[in-house]
């Protein structure tokens, strides 16, 4: 078991000394006050989310006051590892939508790729600007030891959570300015600027504008990440549009403004492939912009991330990412994958069924911590239920060992207790590749829990990277 703050029961890791002093001098009264302040701040700015269970009132994610800290050296390694992975994933996408070298080299079987729903045939033979398919990648990491990090999953479509990263820092700086005087915390507030630069560096070939017009495309206020959409477009100073605001004419994309039509060069879309273009994807879709794919393919607009980019973060493809890194970059992977059994394969399914008590079983298309089984923590009846599911639909599942996620000190009813955490840093790839100096730390607020998802009682923390 690894604790982020304590080296042993009595020894504090050096980079947590300041935080420890700060915690010591904080009274219960102050903690209560600051918790209330944070909660009312998040409610007032409207950083709320909705879950599958509809309740009358929007929920806010519990925010823990104790930051999670990385030293400069620790972060350097993560930074190199994440960027390496993000580059390999983009190289993979460029490859499978063109020559398919990795298939010819017998590294990944072609059925795994071409039969997936997230593979997009209409992208065949088309190369987006700079060959970047997925310019914003969120990598979910867990830590199990001083130098042991594992990648749980890659998010290549439209990773969310970056607004929490920024707002968590904002509220910490507001409530505890002294903490930031006494610790050298690398700032993160330039993320939106870097995101905009990344998007502008991916202008389509037919764009003549030296400052390409970018928009953020949102499904609308009912989407659970809507706050983030408006936050990012605000911070970048670009329009947040819904698909009804856009239309295609000639070979270009326009938005409807009070001055009349205005041309759009780059669409940072936060909607799924299926809802992009009813002419190309889902003809039943009432949302979407008819003809946008044609404009895209003829270089009139860029869509970020590219349609079909989702194949790269498929749970079946995940298994091959270390191979990709070797194949495309000729490097050794810096970050490890979690050992994963693909239940589609008969032998591996057998292993999973035999050892299910020790394993975590996940739906291939699941997310948000729904539809998963944590073997060591589950009742016999739910294990049996999963066994049946596995036998009837093996393709739909993968299994992994239960990782001993690191503990981070967390305030529970005014007491400092250890709770498990993960980390999602955000990688940007355009003209250059860069990683946010921090990320979103999610914490499983329930004692003993391994599930950090906000929909399942997870909270968040500010994440610090100390300057050199």
């Amino acid at each position: 078991m690894f604790n982020e703050m304590y080296q042993s029961e009595s020894v504090i890791r050096k980079h947590y000394n300041n935080i420890n002093d700060w915690l010591d001098q904080m009274t219960s009264k102050v903690i209560l006050e600051k918790n209330a302040e944070a909660e009312s701040h998040f409610r007032n700015i409207g950083i709320t989310f909705s879950t599958n269970n509809e309740t009358a009132r929007e929920r806010i994610i519990p925010f823990d006051l104790i930051p999670r800290i990385f030293t400069y050296t620790e972060w350097l390694r993560l930074e190199r590892g994440v960027i390496q992975r993000a580059k390999a994933l983009n190289a993979f996408l460029a490859d499978i939508y063109n020559q398919g070298e990795i298939i010819k080299a017998n590294i990944i079987p072609k059925e795994i790729i071409y039969k997936k729903k997230s593979f997009e045939p209409s992208m065949f033979g088309f190369s987006p600007p700079r060959d970047i398919y997925s310019p914003i990648i969120g990598i979910d990491l867990v830590r199990t030891g001083p130098n042991e990090y594992f990648v749980l999953e890659d998010n290549c479509r439209t990773p969310s959570g970056v607004s929490y990263m920024l707002e968590n820092r904002e509220i910490m700086m507001r409530m505890f300015p002294d903490l930031f005087h006494n610790n050298r915390v690398t700032p993160i507030d330039d993320y939106p600027t870097r995101l905009l630069q990344t998007l502008m560096s991916l202008a389509p070939i037919k764009c003549e504008n030296p400052e390409p017009v970018c928009v953020l495309l949102t499904p609308g206020p009912l989407n659970s990440a809507y706050y983030e959409h408006s936050f990012l477009s605000d911070q970048m100073g670009i329009e947040m549009v819904e698909s009804t605001d856009l239309f295609v004419e000639g070979k270009y994309l326009y938005m409807k403004t009070v001055d009349g039509p205005k041309r759009v060069d780059v669409v940072y879309r936060r909607i799924d492939d299926d809802f992009l273009d009813p002419l190309c994807f889902n003809p039943q879709s009432v949302i979407g912009i008819p003809g946008i794919m044609d404009v895209y393919r003829t270089g009139g607009v860029n869509i970020c991330s590219a349609p079909g980019a989702g194949i790269a973060d498929d749970k079946a493809i995940y298994i091959y990412v270390p191979e990709m890194i070797k194949f495309y970059l000729g490097e050794q992977p810096i970050l490890d994958n979690v050992e994963t059994w693909n239940c589609e394969k008969e032998q591996e399914l057998k292993y999973v069924l035999d050892n299910i008590n020790e394993l975590v079983v996940k739906e291939v298309d699941g997310s948000g911590g729904y539809g998963m089984l944590i073997g060591p923590k589950s009742s016999k009846s739910s294990i049996d239920e999963f066994k049946t599911k596995l036998s009837t639909n093996p393709k739909g599942y993968i299994a992994q060992p239960l990782l001993d996620l690191s503990f981070s000190p967390t305030l529970i009813k005014n007491q400092v207790e250890g709770r498990r955490v993960d980390l999602r840093p955000f990688c940007l790839i355009g003209e250059q590749a860069q990683l946010s100096s921090g990320g979103l730390t999610r914490v499983a607020m329930n004692e003993g829990s391994f599930v950090v998802n906000s929909s399942q009682g997870g909270g968040v923390k500010d994440t610090w990277v100390l300057a050199e």
Partner: protein, 311 residues
């Protein structure tokens, strides 16, 4: 600016203005209910309901007109589209979409208001709370308006204020109408004590009582008050003040001069007429007729704004 953004901004200030009017109307009813109710007068709560345009909806829901129910219907009821609750909810939902188009303070003002009214709604209220609720609403709306001060003076700003003055023009006209036509149907009461008392309540509810005292010497008369609320350009709720501001914010728009021109052409006559008219002429012609025509005109301007800019 996106057409949809312009439309949402326009409606945010309409809803906020309407929330204030509904709260002020409740205050009118509340003050009047504290005075003895002589026979021959309409029930003051019924007048309040008709001024709020809510009489039909109310009667579908309740059999009798009672203060408690009227208060609940006008303040909290989700089935009444003009209830203060719904106005704030709608303003907030619109603001959620266009929060990037105005200042963080404006969003905060609206969202805090929304969070608080959720709490108020859960607790409901007792009879004596009504003045507090009115005061609270006016405070919240003022907070929102104040936050607009730091806005960039661009088209978004002008759409916000177009919405505000279109709504206010309509609301002021309706308030005037309720006093003149609904509250006091019997001509023999005109000029009597009760009549004057009602006029001053109306003024107070528009927070214009002292302003009126400054603007006019001597006795409070119906004609003076009508002059004040219809033609006086110094009164921020008068019809002429609203029209002036609609023209101002319309012609300040930098987008599409052709569209602006078309709407202005339709508005020009009304503006000229109201600037030159004498109150005696209007009273002679019939204040009620005048006000009804005015409301119709404002509604047609509103239609044109939608047609030209928001489609």
């Amino acid at each position: 600016m996106l057409s949809r953004t312009a439309e949402y901004l326009y409606w945010i200030s309409r809803y906020m203005e309407r929330a204030e009017t509904t709260a002020r109307l409740l205050d009118v009813g509340y003050r009047m209910s504290l005075f003895p109710n002589p026979s021959g007068y309409n029930n003051e709560w019924e007048s309040v309901l008709s001024a709020a345009g809510a009489i039909e909806g109310y009667k579908n829901k309740y059999d009798t007109i009672e203060q408690k129910n009227v208060e609940d219907y006008l303040f909290f009821d989700e089935s009444n589209p003009s209830s203060v609750y719904n106005c704030i909810l709608n303003a907030r939902n619109n603001a959620l979409v266009v929060r990037t188009s105005f200042t963080p303070e404006s969003w905060l003002a609206i969202n805090k208001t929304y969070q608080e009214i959720l709490n108020l709604k859960e607790k409901k209220f007792t009879k004596s709370d009504l003045p507090d609720l009115t005061e609270w609403t006016i405070e919240q709306v003022n907070l929102f308006r104040g936050s607009l001060n730091s806005l960039l003076r661009n088209d978004g700003y002008n759409f916000l204020f177009l919405g505000l003055f279109i709504e206010r023009a309509d609301n002021s006209a309706r308030l005037l109408d309720v006093k003149y036509f609904v509250l006091l149907p019997k001509p023999q009461y005109v000029g009597g004590n009760i009549d004057n008392m009602q006029w001053s309540i109306l003024l107070r509810s528009l927070s214009s009582f002292r302003a009126f005292r400054w603007a006019y010497d001597g006795n409070i008369t119906a004609t003076k008050i009508a002059d004040f609320l219809v033609l006086n350009n110094n009164c921020p709720r008068s019809l002429s003040f609203c029209i002036q501001n609609i023209v101002k914010h319309l012609t300040n728009l930098t987008c599409s001069p052709a569209k602006v021109g078309r709407i202005y052409d339709n508005l020009k006559d009304l503006n000229t007429k109201i600037q030159e008219e004498k109150i005696e002429t209007i009273v002679e012609y019939g204040l009620h007729q005048f006000v009804t025509q005015f409301i119709r005109k404002i509604s047609s301007v509103d239609n044109e704004i939608h047609k030209e800019f928001f489609n």
